[in-house]
Amino acid sequence: MMDNIPFLIFSFITILTALGTVTARNPVYSVLFLVLTFFALSGHYILLNAQFIAVVNLIVYAGAIMVLFLFVLMLLNLNKDSEAPRPWLWQISAALSAGMLLVVLAGSMREASLYLVKGGPEAGEIGLVKNLGKALFTEFVVPFEISSILFLAAMVGAVMIGKKEKQQA
């Protein structure tokens, strides 16, 4: 049971900060809670011997995407509690439906054929960048290229959307 302690700590932080993200009144606090969630998830990844994914998770999510969110929040000056809360009934029904989804998910997972995955995580071989890179550039090279095209399209799209429309006005 002693071995579980890091896992339990990280899980606790993950759930707590995720709830914080959802419930914080101020969107800036939401962003910061989410960053903490990503840190805790990176901790999980390290426990699972996936160091590369752990660091990339930090760089991409916490270092880039969340900075983007924070940037937009600050740019639009949305940091006041401008959001009117949903009515009570709505809140309760949201909690109910999410909870029901949880029950369904957990129940179906319980019955899933988990006999394939017994024991603990494999000793740190797969998570190493060498193995991941090999898989990425042999087996998954086509999806990789397609994802780069997706990235390019997203970049061009974001720039086009963000541009001020001068010609039409």
Binding site: I15, T21, T37, F69
Partner: protein, 101 residues
């Protein structure tokens, strides 16, 4: 370390449901986007844990692709939100169903 795989599954289910709860609960479109990121991360956690337990790298590669999609989604989504804010001075998702009426 000897955490059974079930616990990771429960954890990521819980995380996913928290994300769903947030999407249902919040009206601020930016926070809703963040809740979607949370759901994506729940899936990531599941992928990584399974990949690690089964000794197969494909799961982690998938996480990689999910991150790509998440980054693309965040950049385009935020660009759209900035434009919406410019036009309506609000990022309330309730504001956007005007087209329906």
């Amino acid at each position: 370390m000897n955490v059974p795989i079930d616990q990771y599954i429960y954890l990521s289910s819980l995380l996913f449901c928290i994300g769903v709860f947030g999407v249902l609960l919040r009206r601020n479109a930016i926070v809703v986007l963040m809740c979607i990121e949370l759901m994506l991360n729940a899936v990531n956690l599941l992928f990584v844990s399974l990949s690690s337990y089964m000794g197969d790298a494909s799961g982690q590669i998938f996480v990689f692709f999910i991150m790509v999609v998440a980054a693309a989604e965040a950049s385009v989504g935020l660009a759209i939100l900035v434009m919406v804010y410019r036009n309506t001075r609000s990022v309330d998702i309730g504001f956007l169903d005007k087209l329906r009426k």
